[in-house]
């Protein structure tokens, strides 16, 4: 599931002991306020920008109901308040009602992040009774043809419309999420109109971030600068147009590829977000699995230990790990050197500055992609859908490449 960050406020940090003179001390670790439970990697759709790992087909193990509930209890004691049920498609877990009820009883604000596929009225009502607070429905485009092409599923659009209407009819707050990219960005006016017609409370128009599947498909997905400028102008025009009549909030997330500085990724490594993958691996963000770092598993390690003391979660806390240009840069406390996953995926070394930064010696990797996006036909390879066949294939190709190195 493509989960864009949240709007949580900064967590105040109090400084701990001074370690080295040349970098600031490691700030005190924040609470894991946001818990993302990726319940399963199973999914009926095949979005080419999916944030699940490329090798999801090899990771079929899933935590049991009791294990999940234990994770919820432990994280709640550490301060977690937001709980996202995500995946894959979380609806494919038959125990979802039970998990929602347990989470709600613990005091979580419960978010269901779904493609809406297979979601019936009866089930939505059962979720409501279990205490579900909010449903986010993801769309791929504003019309059936494009939506179905992008999701690799023929019926998906009609089902989604029906689900979105029911979400509202049952009185849930609704977040309308649409991942924006080269192939649908020129229809952003239609996408916004659809979201308003569906009376969405929040509309997330998030350009895809290029990890995993999206990186493989980047040439198909990265919009050109001109497309982006036009889409932002359109969004602003709608904001102005609806400001007195609707409370719908339009949130447009620009791709960091067109920024000069990286985003302050996840509000700092291991500082706010805790992701648990289907098999119980704990990650500081949902794409961190791609990093060559060992991450602990909730099946054999208490969450408190994972969050505060595991090697994986301490790896990029603070500033000690930084290389130049980040190490001596006076902006490192704002952006933490950017995204570790992006640094790793593009430069091969997760300790490097995020190449989005104009101070990065690898910045050309970004500007080359920008230049490529200006071409009429940037992609030379076909779009790769996120499905089991492609997962198995990509992984065997990767293994061959590794063996031949």
């Amino acid at each position: 599931m493509n989960c864009t960050g949240s709007i949580l406020p900064d967590v105040p940090n109090s400084a701990s002991e001074q370690q080295h003179a040349d970098v600031p001390p490691t700030p005190e670790t924040g609470q894991p306020l946001w818990l993302l439970a990726e319940l399963t990697y199973r999914c009926p759709l095949q979005c080419p920008y999916c944030s699940n790992p490329l090798d999801f087909e090899q990771r079929k193990q899933e935590l049991t109901t009791e294990q999940w509930i234990s994770v919820f209890e432990q994280a709640r004691r550490l301060g977690a308040a937001q709980l996202g049920f995500s995946g894959g498609e979380p609806l494919l877990r038959d125990d979802l009602e039970e998990l929602i009820r347990a989470a709600r009883d613990l005091g979580y604000y419960t978010n269901l992040i779904t493609s809406g596929m297979g979601l019936t009225y009866e089930r939505m009502q059962a979720f409501k009774e279990a205490g579900l607070d909010h449903i986010q429905v993801s769309f791929q485009a504003s019309n059936a043809e494009m939506n179905n092409y992008l999701s690799g599923n023929q019926r998906s659009f009609d089902e989604k419309l029906e689900v979105a209407r029911t979400v509202k009819a049952l009185g849930y707050p609704m977040v309308f999420n649409c991942v924006i990219h080269r192939e649908n960005i020129d229809q952003i006016d239609k996408i916004i109109e659809l979201s308003i017609e569906l009376e969405s409370d929040y509309v997330e128009l998030a350009t895809s971030q290029y990890y995993g599947w999206a990186l493989k498909n980047r040439d198909h997905l990265l919009p050109s600068k001109a497309q982006l400028v036009a889409a932002e102008a359109t969004t602003n025009r709608y904001r102005e147009q609806i400001k007195d009549t609707h409370r719908t909030k339009l949130i447009f997330v620009v791709p960091d590829y067109y920024e000069e500085r990286p985003k302050g990724c996840m509000n700092g490594w291991g500082n706010l977000f805790l992701t648990i993958t289907p098999d119980g691996t704990a990650l500081p963000c949902h794409s961190a699995r791609e990093l060559p770092i060992e991450f602990p598993n909730v099946a054999d390690t208490p969450v408190e230990e994972i969050w505060y003391r595991s090697k994986g979660f301490n790896h990029y806390r603070g500033y000690e790990w930084m290389k130049e240009p980040c190490r001596s840069c006076d902006e490192k406390e704002q952006d933490f050197g950017g995204c570790r996953c992006q640094a790793f995926a593009l430069t091969g070394d997760a300790d490097n500055a995020d190449p989005v930064c104009s101070k990065s010696p690898h910045r050309h990797l970004i500007t080359d992609a920008q230049a490529n996006a200006d071409k009429a036909q940037p992609a030379s390879e076909p779009l790769i859908y996120r499905n089991r066949k492609n997962s198995a294939q990509l992984i065997s190709v990767q293994q061959i490449e590794e063996e031949s190195v």
Binding site: N111, D133, H134, P173
Partner: protein, 93 residues
């Protein structure tokens, strides 16, 4: 201002107000987000139940905090004005 005093505030259905034991503060939770409230905002919102008017809430707060000075009335009014018009935390019934 008198008309504001007679309004009955309720928490916008997009938000949930609660006490967070691990953080020792009141918060407003909403889809994928959270606002941590300071003590006075928490104390005011505790009395927002969709039944009491702002005037009644002020009376209650005066009783709860007898040591609070004359600023209390203005503070509460400022809070509701901002919470309703700008932040949309509050609906008026």
């Amino acid at each position: 201002m008198d008309s504001l005093m007679q309004q009955t505030p309720a928490i916008n259905r997009l938000f949930r107000f609660q006490w967070e034991p691990a953080s020792h503060c009141h918060v407003l939770l909403y889809p994928e987000g959270m606002v941590r409230l300071n003590e006075s905002a928490g104390a005011i919102l505790t009395h927002v139940d969709g039944n009491r008017t702002i005037a009644q809430i002020i009376d209650q707060l005066k009783a709860d905090f007898p040591e609070a000075g004359d600023d209390l009335v203005q503070d509460v009014i400022d809070f509701f004005t901002e919470a309703h018009h700008e932040l949309h935390w509050i609906d008026f019934a």
